[in-house]
Symmetry: C2
Subunit: 236 residues, 2 copies
Amino acid sequence: MAVRGAVPEVIWARPERAGRGPRPAYTRDDIAAAAVRIADAQGLDAVSMRHVAAELGCGTMSLYNYVPRKEDLYELMVDAVSAEHELWEPSGDWRADLRRVAYQTRALMGRHPWVPRLMSPVYGFSPHALRFLEHCLACLDPLGGPYGTKFELIAMLNGVVTTYVRNELDTAERARSLPWSEADEHAVRIAYLGGRLASGAYPRMAAAFQEDAGPIDLEAVFERAVERVLDAFAPR
Amino acid sequence: MAVRGAVPEVIWARPERAGRGPRPAYTRDDIAAAAVRIADAQGLDAVSMRHVAAELGCGTMSLYNYVPRKEDLYELMVDAVSAEHELWEPSGDWRADLRRVAYQTRALMGRHPWVPRLMSPVYGFSPHALRFLEHCLACLDPLGGPYGTKFELIAMLNGVVTTYVRNELDTAERARSLPWSEADEHAVRIAYLGGRLASGAYPRMAAAFQEDAGPIDLEAVFERAVERVLDAFAPR
DNA sequence: CTTCACTAAGTACGGCGTACGTAGTAGTCA
DNA sequence: TGACTACTACGTACGCCGTACTTAGTGAAG
């Protein structure tokens, strides 16, 4: 008998159904959907093999017939939500199209706040990720130039979107697992920061916080960030 | 007796030494250093309360006298390595100074590959993070304009650096915990990808992989990314 | 009909974070 | 000085986690 798992596998390369035995009770989509449901409702940390199995209604270890390691379950989840990317006929205006991509990605992460934490270049090979990449490249046809530059643009745009959304949502996901409210935690940190700044050791930081007294408009910050990335790749 | 942990705390706001009982056996720096040592040598997942305590030579639960939650241990770790940021007298050329900041941050993450995974805006209030931020702001004095824009520049630069370094190093850290080599895994994925691209469903991806046959020069990609971010904030 | 690859699921192990209780220590104050 | 008490140290225990291994049963292939 071959030693199990001794050789690396890409889960997408494994057939869903082998020829011989009884028909599997669940599809990969069933499993991904169950995991996504749990992550959406209770956060990523609630996605355990036991929970997903219970959500499906099967024994914990039965999951391992479909998914060799938990890592692969994550890969299924990312692919499943990648399917939500709407793909359209490119308009011919690459800036407009990529802006639309960025806003859609952000909306997707709003619906699935755990996605930024799982974002990894390793998952870039999943079927729906490939479709999404191909679509971005199609939107960039009017830009011209080498594909290398286009990949760099897509990577930076996705990276910036992911980073910004993560910064917004991480604290919210975190708050779920702590016994006090996000507002309380924020207040405590701001109070502490105020004390530090009053020490005079950080004059520019102190000046900055006086300048921008009001709450930050995160929406506007995000919009500016996207435009700046697009600017950085626009031909001069 | 007050219920333990019912109210949020910033670990930096807690005094290291209370007045009364016996002198604590370790300082916060001792603990952070022990955790950093483990993370550097065995990866972030090896940083458990038990391991850190063993590294210090004390009982597991004794750690909780210093660190109320594991999350706070992470905060100590990030602050500890933030101390490695070299701070210099700003040159007057904000672009040169920020470029230097970016390269230094990258070098720091090269020494501590687990840092990108812990990067969170929440940790931005730690003493050394504040120092670092103040230094970046000082470098940006020549740029002028509102502090809001400067923060956006610093955030985007750090975000891009973090994302790029993480993409480089995550796979390496991941490889450590898997029973096959990084090269093997890479080869398997590339083989799978080749098969997908041969299907003809992704014509632009296929063309791109023919165009850029050789290995990617990650160093050059990083340099271009940094320059692009700086460009995006340069006054026109 | 037999064979046997496959699915399903239970049990068990070694890890994790951490709540709780107990014992000991050292500053404080009567 | 002696009692008090806040504090440190740390062992035990609980309920999670991922997953290796085992057994039993199913159904298509020969």
